[in-house]
Subunit: 101 residues, 2 copies
């Protein structure tokens, strides 16, 4: 069963195309992480927040990733990180066409 | 551009198949909401939390949904709801195979 990791934190940019340019190498490296399936990059310039929704193959790989990622964010000066790992409810998600399998 | 709504709250179950049975009619109704694209249903029996990750066509339809959904959750006795709406960064999300278009 796939596990979902939701992460958000305060960040004063960059956002949009500038964010995409700054983090494209980081994004490529995320594709190589253990158990990684996909990530949606999230951003809210209005509230100075950013983050991501990730899908991982197992709870363990999601936990391993957020441990590593929290340290990386701390290196960027971002320490107040909201991170939660959830199981996904397959039957309900299927009714609502959620992209999990 | 698609907007992502992340919602989570404390809930003492039901989880798993029992949750799917309790909320399958609600799930079907969500497919009819304005601007709705998909929802992943999330649950964490270990921490007594539940929620969902939604994709909407516009920020306005995401806002309209969470206004209605917050009132519905309050009707279930759930009032301490974390809800955030984010834009999605298309370029980075595409690198990471995120299911947004």
């Amino acid at each position: 069963m796939a596990y979902l990791l939701q992460v958000d934190f305060k960040m004063n940019g960059p956002f949009g195309d500038e964010m995409a340019e700054a983090f494209s190498d980081l994004a490529k490296s995320i594709n190589e992480e253990d158990g990684f399936i996909w990530k949606i990059w999230t951003e809210s310039p209005e509230t100075n927040e950013s983050g991501g929704i990730y899908l991982f193959e197992t709870k363990e790989t999601a936990e391993k990733y957020i441990d590593m990622h929290s340290k990386r964010l701390a290196g960027f000066g971002i320490t107040d990180v909201n991170a939660k790992i959830f199981a996904t409810n397959s039957k309900l998600t299927e009714i609502n066409k959620g992209p999990v399998k």
